[in-house]
Amino acid sequence: MTAAKSADPVPSIYTTSPAMQRRNAAETRFRLYGLVAIALSLSLLAVMLVTIFRDGTSSFFQARLSYTVELTEKVLDPKGNRNRDEMTKVTTVGYGKVLSAGLMATLEARNIDLGGLKPKEVAELISKDAAGGLRAKVLADPALVGSTIEVSVFAAGRVDGFLKGRVTMESAKLDSNISPEQLELADRMRTAGILSSGWNWDFFTNPDASDQRPEAAGLGVALIGSLYLMILVALMCVPVGVAASIYLEEFAPKNTLTDAIEVNVSNLAAVPSIVYGILGLSIFINVFGLPQSSSLVGALVISLMTLPTIIIATRAAIRAVPPSIRDAALGVGASKMQTVFHHVLPLAMPGILTGTILGLAAGLGQSAPLLLIGMVAFVDNHPAPPLDGFLDPATALPVQIYTWVTRSDPAFVERSNGAIIVLLAFLVVMNLLAILARRKFERRW
């Protein structure tokens, strides 16, 4: 063997052939596709969450006007006898006059330049909601008439938007609801401390408000509605779901009925949510005559939708309990039923709990079926406490989000995003609970 022979054209393993280079490049590309796919989905998720938080956090703050108002007897109680029944004849128009007079007086006392605005235009800075609130307050305590009180009322939606940067001088020029002069006055009022933006609890308690008063709209009815829905769904869905799972896992003989149930459970999980809405409308409302828009009907529909999820999760939890537990219980003389209820079910409980919370979280976000059963209606009154309240018209968080975003005033889009933040907060809490429950009780056999 000479040295010349080793210069044979056999490629060294240290140099890569062109074919191998191509294959390696293909390998890198393929890997890159995977990374791009993941980066794409995660960045889309991030974009969505960032836009929601960017547009939504401001809805927790609201501009308010704080000033003193003289509750003129001449307007509010023309007869002067503080008789509540007679005072109810004074509508919100009268209270609006009192509020705007108070604002004018305050501006004058503080020497704030009106910039040539007429009193009527100054009054437009006050929310149309304010008069109703003052009226309720005075009717609750007629003795207030004649005195001078401190009020803190919502500023009009556009003024609030101005403080949050949504409304600008340029947009105000094109806006029939507000003029740049009014915004300049608002600016001076802010410097004087009359107008300020602060944390807005009313966002969580107020009912929905009409198109003209975005500043007064709140999530009160939607939160109660969603709470009722969750209570009812948990009460109806969990016992039935667990019972069905126990039967299917532990007792069901191999027969046609069992097969039919199995097929139905898996198919129902794939039925579009809107179809459940149609079911609710035609069975629960049209046939059974349950009241439209009520939380009860909503809960029935969502229960039926959540049932397959809960059954699937519960069955997995029951299946995870090792057969030795059952054998031991049967061996010491327990009946089949006692084995299941005294031993299998308690051991499967953590899994059932986790599955149930996740199922409820999915139910909380449902909106399409609720549109069909009328929970999309404008509800002005808070539902009564249970049990009667379950039949009162209500709306739910996701539906409220939808109704707000379809209104024309951009102030409602802000509130809609705020409502999403509230909804997501609930979902995060529920999911964390599920994770904690799993961590705390999880058992490896």
């Binding site: 390998e27 809107i274 179809v275 909106s367 975003v405």
Partner: protein, 486 residues
Amino acid sequence: MSVLMLLVVTLALALAAFVLARQRALASAKGSSRDLHSLPNYYGWNGSIWVLLPALTGLVLWLIVQPMVVESRISGNLPAQLMTDSAARELTMADVRRVAGGLDTAVAAGALSEDSSGSMDTQTTDVRALLAQVGVALGGDVSSEVLAAAQEYRVMTAWGAAARSVLVLALAVAGLFWGVSRANKDFRARNAVERVILGLLVAASSIAILTTIGIVGSMATETFDFFTKYPLKDFFFSLTWSPNFKGNSDLGMLPLLWGTLYVTVVALIVCVPVGLFTAIYLAEYASKATRAWVKPLIEVIAGIPTVVFGIFALVTVGPALRDWIAAPLGLGDSGSSVMTAGLVIGILNIPFISSLSDDIINAVPQSLRDGSFGLGATKSETVRQVILPAALPGIVGAVLMAASRAIGETMVVVMGAGAAAQLSMNPFDAMTTMTVKIVGQLTGDTDFSAPETLVAFALGMTLFVITLGLNIFALFIVRKYREQYE
């Protein structure tokens, strides 16, 4: 007695039955529980079941049957001219119910005595004004027939409520006596109780079947009703959709079907590659730590309610596509479009495809990979030529299920796709889908005798059949072509 009171009394009786039956059984064994056939509590439970089961069944049946009987009796007594067709019947009955409810409120508020509510007539009293006083607003004046029917309605309802209480209490008390009398030491109480529990378990499982029957039944009757008023051929083959609540509508579903399928195709073009590559990377390339972080993050997408995606489509994606792509290219100036809705539905289906495919890819046995590596294949060659073919049936199944979800998706298309029913090829045009129109035709004031409302049920039925078919087909593919390893 109100329903709530009845429930409370029944529960109290059940508790009493529990205690009595348990004591009686123990007494029959002279206090020694070892001589009993079952544990003492089973005798108690047996007693309770005998109270609860008949009483509650009676109550539920009564609550369902009573309104039906009352309605049919009342409508039978109303004059024929108010009952010309089903729509008129519905309206009249709604009037009767509203007046009856108003009279109830008036009596409760003290504006009316119970006697005069039954004896007044339209000649001497202005019923509408009277009810307006207590806050019940009526659309028009009350005719004497309606008032008479409403008074009869109230009488029958009151009678029914009284009879209901008597029946339920009688059943509960009879059950108590029977259940307690059966408690003695030789009675096999545990077997009896377990039989009832098993029955309840079967009943709970059957709800799944009942739901399917309810879905199909409710939609089938209304769909049938629709096709008696609107020709079947026009619904399936007409190219125009222009509902008009004055009548004479064109209700062809093809434009809606086209919109639905177009959106679904766009969604699949987005979610299948992204979801599949995500799954491949996570299953084959990612380190354990990456996987532990990325997989839950991707699944966060699945946990976000669809209404949030709808808003994302309406507020962010739609305007962005319009301003950056559609308008510069001259393809349209609509924020809501097939592209918007399809893209967003694609995003929300990514976790669905990725987690299903992930499971399927992980189920391919390691020996196949090892064999491929042993022959000198690179990782990507192994994935493309060994793993994907082996996992293909499962992946096709996942894609079909994703398609069925996209077809049935509602909130995103309601907010992102638009409302114009048209057959257009341009993906930046606003088009509409079946789910959008179901929501559109069934929200707000609906008249369940007009074809414009009933068409929603026909659309729902079509949707149900399509999605169910796709899912069954997906399961069939998975079962038929699945490779069995070991």
